[in-house]
Symmetry: C2
Subunit: 175 residues, 2 copies
Amino acid sequence: MEFTDVIAGRHSIRRFRQEQVPTALLEQLIAAAVQAPTASNLQAWRFLVAVEPSLVHKLDLFSPGLSGNPPVIIAVCSDLEEVSRRGSKHSLEYGCMMDAAMAAENLMLKAVELGLGTCAIKSYHEQSVRRLLKLPDTLRLELLISVGWPEGEPRAPQRKPMEQVLFFNEWEETK
Amino acid sequence: MEFTDVIAGRHSIRRFRQEQVPTALLEQLIAAAVQAPTASNLQAWRFLVAVEPSLVHKLDLFSPGLSGNPPVIIAVCSDLEEVSRRGSKHSLEYGCMMDAAMAAENLMLKAVELGLGTCAIKSYHEQSVRRLLKLPDTLRLELLISVGWPEGEPRAPQRKPMEQVLFFNEWEETK
């Protein structure tokens, strides 16, 4: 699929068909995710892919940010043990958080190519999600991504005009 | 360009040809960036594109993380005034930081399609960069991205084997 179509076709999906996603496709999502940049080549991201229906259902219950009963929920985590052992002073505070976000974006773009829909969220009950996924203290939960076959047409909120977000050489007040 | 080739073709570029990048291409990078997800539809990112050679040179001097004398440096910022006015409780702490990282990834992928190279960095002297770009206190500097025509072949560090980063349903210790 053309890159331009992928990037324009990504929208947050909040309604899913009740149909499983083949494991091979989920593996392709993660293979795309890990091609994102990773500061100091840390590769500290860890991807927990919840597909077992009762687990997904429980995660969903504790995640008010998720909508549409997704059949798959991916938890993007950072392995803080690896970060503190090999990272720079920036890594722990935001380096691996940014790595996680960039990997998540690759994953969500790849999903478009595969016909899948996604939505990244930060609104979940942290301790419940951690317990359900059996996350050790060394894993930081960065975000959750719902994955599934989209149902219906997504909302596509308009972007701000370029002159409100793009500036050359120095900041100018636009308001 | 095929999405698969774009995503596989993105590598951090640390050597650039000494040649300007047309404004129209830089605008295409930002147009791709703003298609990334943005939590609560905040769109709080602001992109400062430094192209004026003496400014780029000064930014470069204060950014040990940058290499290869890039002709363009893009500062990805978050407008904290907008975030505090319209954002959720998560937005300030990490929502808009993740938005910035996802937008940066879109930008860097678009660059591949245009034949450009990029490198995202967090290693810079914050106060000097802020002063050079005339950033007000309300703008948080999230990261810098060098942009230019790549020279030579980039390094392409190997990714970890999938079994070290991908887990189904719950965390398993692999070490």
